[in-house]
Symmetry: C2
Subunit: 681 residues, 2 copies
Amino acid sequence: MIDPLVIFTPSGKRGHFPVGTPILTAARQLGVDLDSVCGGRGICSKCQVSPSFGEFPKHGVTVSTSALSPWNSVEQRYDDIRGLPKGRRLGCQATVQGDIVVDVPPESQVHRQVVRKAASARDIIMDPATKLYFVTVVEPDMHEPSGDLERLADALREQWQITDLNAPLPVLRKLQKALRKGNWEVTVAMHRGSLDDRHQLLDIWPGFHEGRIYGLAIDLGSTTIAAHLCDLRNGTVLASSGVMNPQIRFGEDLMSRVSYAMMNPGGEVEMTAAVREAINALTIEIATEAKIEADQILEAVFVCNPVMHHLLLGIDPVELGQAPFALATSDAMALAAREMELTAMNACAQIFILPCIAGHVGADAAAVALSEEPGKSEDLVLIVDVGTNAEILLGNTTRVLACSSPTGPAFEGAQISSGQRAAPGAIERVEIDPATKEPRFKVIGSDVWSTDPDFDTATQITGICGSGIIEAVAEMRMAGIVDDKGLIGSAEQTGTLRCVETGRTHSYVLHDGTALGGPLISVTQGDIRAIQLAKSALYAGARLLMDEMGVDHVDRITLAGAFGAHISPKHAMVLGMIPDAPLDKVTSAGNAAGTGARIALCSVDARRAIAKTVRQITKVETAIAPKFQDHFVNANAIPHATDPFPHLLSVVTLPQVSFNLGGGGTVDADGKRRRRARPRD
Amino acid sequence: MIDPLVIFTPSGKRGHFPVGTPILTAARQLGVDLDSVCGGRGICSKCQVSPSFGEFPKHGVTVSTSALSPWNSVEQRYDDIRGLPKGRRLGCQATVQGDIVVDVPPESQVHRQVVRKAASARDIIMDPATKLYFVTVVEPDMHEPSGDLERLADALREQWQITDLNAPLPVLRKLQKALRKGNWEVTVAMHRGSLDDRHQLLDIWPGFHEGRIYGLAIDLGSTTIAAHLCDLRNGTVLASSGVMNPQIRFGEDLMSRVSYAMMNPGGEVEMTAAVREAINALTIEIATEAKIEADQILEAVFVCNPVMHHLLLGIDPVELGQAPFALATSDAMALAAREMELTAMNACAQIFILPCIAGHVGADAAAVALSEEPGKSEDLVLIVDVGTNAEILLGNTTRVLACSSPTGPAFEGAQISSGQRAAPGAIERVEIDPATKEPRFKVIGSDVWSTDPDFDTATQITGICGSGIIEAVAEMRMAGIVDDKGLIGSAEQTGTLRCVETGRTHSYVLHDGTALGGPLISVTQGDIRAIQLAKSALYAGARLLMDEMGVDHVDRITLAGAFGAHISPKHAMVLGMIPDAPLDKVTSAGNAAGTGARIALCSVDARRAIAKTVRQITKVETAIAPKFQDHFVNANAIPHATDPFPHLLSVVTLPQVSFNLGGGGTVDADGKRRRRARPRD
């Protein structure tokens, strides 16, 4: 007689098994993705399945209601205490009695997908490095005097096929008490090496441990440190939090921190201590917010630029400040949190740091590559992560190129006369009526336009942030206030009194709050020059990669980074920040680096994949490419003359105006600019 | 034409090589043990060889003086600066020109033997885990932006066939400066895993590093911590030093320390901190004594009993104080010194801890097994390491058994009325004239017998140490002062006034210094009972192993431990401490545990061998063996009646005397013993 047929859905895997075989055993033998923490002891309830009964012509079987063993006392007890959903059975208790079709619901799958909010982004398949295992250990015996750890290792080998075991001292110290308190049954958190397959014991609890284990995905930026707290069983983000990077006191931008290390012996030690302290504080803060214990955090994944990477590890970043920009180490790193003095999380917590692509293209860019996967795109995609340095990736299934372009801090509101960081009070959106040349704007912290009757006139308006200045300049260009060389016209030339003389140049007044003791917010000719330099660098970097790729257009453009999420694609293109592309093909990926960190946190496979991917990326160094300089100079115009923008020009009109330097306005004897009368908002 | 024949001595390895092949290359291809740190660059001079010329009928070759390339400029420069011994060539410079016989002198061999002082002990073959490698690293290139570490890994793979590389943070921090200072040539200290083959970078120096690297072999005892500083290139001991184990303040013996941990929450943390601090201080002390920097110490090997093992690692030893005496971990351990807060040595120093055999038989016993190799003995050897617990090994090539026997501290002078530790002032040797019953003794710190005219009457005599009490009791037995039940006779029965009444029993006065304000040193009936208990435990342990082995005699006996080195075999056998054996087959191995630690420090092979050996040792638990109790009771007599001592009785005469309890002496109403008049020394 043939053994009963067991068919699993949704996988479709099937096989014949003797009567009495537990469903969990059948699943394991067929390689069906059915979870279990307790190893089939009826404790963890992770192996819940839904049997189906009746006719299944598709599978060619008829399932009778007696095809599974009857509901047993273990299932009854579990149902009494915690409740089993209707129709569910425990896979470790229900045994095969006849042909049967068994569905494995998503929550019973180990490698279940984590649904992401952005539909366009790929799903994360859970494959965490750290998992819980429930295990029964043989009691000690004077006649066979092996250590408790060695008997735990034997148990893990026999019950979970884990053939190696490394126990750091902090967990070794807890071992004996846990084993005795749990009456020789314990739950262990086991970490599989991110880069090898060695197992490490991270924590141990007596008996079956119901608690959850967590990981942090940390985007360590020059200015802010952002962390997501994720449940390591299902990838859910429980809390997100951020703090300022305290290294700012040593230098606002990366190069000033490198200088600080060069000028002050031991300066890198100070900066390392500061950032680690901030990460410890952030760890405690986020744990408190999520109402968990910080020592339940067993892993953290870091993404960061090369300078932050070195300063996190305690390595002097001086080599990153000078050619040839040699990294101390470029590969992905796996190490213990305690080695980095990250003591707020679990004593045995493990750290994974994504690889750096090059001296200027860091682990943050690698994380973007992991999140956006240019190497799996059929289309040719340009990915731009805008910051003080812009990281640029260009690629498709054939090849991926990467470079970093020194845009400077203008896009972040620095070096702009009324610039500020994106914070409440900053102008973030700007529109200028082409007919009247009058502006309206939105301020961070307020939902309505400045011209709206609902706009609260008491709203604090403190400056203009990066996305605001980009929109302002682009709107000025579209309204004919700025010409294609980037010159602001005079009041006479533009027909608006908002254009005022400031020395030999003009400024456009966006908002004058001086009557109420507030600021005067204008876009000066200097601001436009700063934006031109930044956007030329960004554009030149993108063009350099396109040259290397041998193409003169791209299929789509992804704007990454917090800043990228706020840039309007149309305005970016009017400015000439990015190459021409169909506007509907220019999208934002949000914080792609942070997403990449989360993916790596949830998946060992992803960690290994990105380590491999990074080696295959072709690095292009802008600092030594003569063509970069050519592109940079040519990209100065708005939009520049040598590269036509057919997609852009099909949707926007750029007035044919041309202004000159000189003209209106004078400079006083004492050097102060004298202003003409200007309009009030 | 056949290529020239190259013959290496003393190995006898030979092969044909094309004209122009460097001798070093030929040696490597043949697997000849010829050292090189610089990899054949003519820098390190480790590959020195002595070519031989003339007729070699034994090898069947004639070697002409032109069989090697002429002395070259590299060799000349080396000779000018440092001097090459006459007749020596550098193996990396001299090339094959004809048939040649080349001798590799011992100092050019990597795996050279270390000559040990004790001729009977086996030689150590150098195979250290940590070695120096000189390596040339490719400079960084903006077009190929790999990290400095990754290029170092490439260089080690190509130049030294080291295919994996792990760089802890402390050395990663030094990497970039060392590479640049050394103009892309560096020397690295590379550690091969003791239990796996993974490589770890421990330190890095610019250019060719002439400095030496060292290791510590540490015997961590309950009372003292002893360390040997060894040169890791040749095993030479540069300095030896010891400190008291500061844990003594928590309890004199192991069980009182276990009690301290049980009674005081966090007590094990205090004890761990104390012992680590002492090891750090000892590290600095021994480095200072040897005039080296403590950070040149790259390795340490520990041997210790199970309680010290746990307290060193920070593990609560409470389980070792109660059946079934379960160890937290029994296997050998390899970990970083910084994980154990052993911060005085190099920041990346590596620790190896020998495996424990059982809950009562520690890594110190494993070290004795490594040093004495009972499993390689054709003779059946009994090895006894005497301390508060005696570790006993019995075995030969067929099988090795181990047990621990609770001798208590009597052998160390504790629980003895005039007992003290082996320190200046302690009586360590005793002889009693069988005719006159008069004693003479030697005191630690003095070279002459107390009856010698040269004996300085001002010598401080403070008490009697372990070896002294053993000799005293044995001499009393041989002089007829003590009978075979262990009873001391009265003055009348023994014929000496040195036997005085003390209550219902007698004491034998060894030395009376009371007239000069000094102590009265006697052997009391209580002392003899304490020694009888201790020696019975030791003997019973040995007999238990002999039963398990199915033998009633052993071929030879090795006394190990500092104490074992001072015991007279004859006296030990008169007491019945050890089974009967030919007296010339009872030898001392000195500090065999310390020697085992040194062997492990010098040889990865030995580390792996002992890890394997320990698993093959049959552990016998005395606490649960009914036969142990039988042997213990039967062994009470001196020597006892049930086990004849033919070898002993062939050399010594044991008087047929028999005494009774009771008789002379009374006890005062206040409970104090009243003494009879007693002789002066």
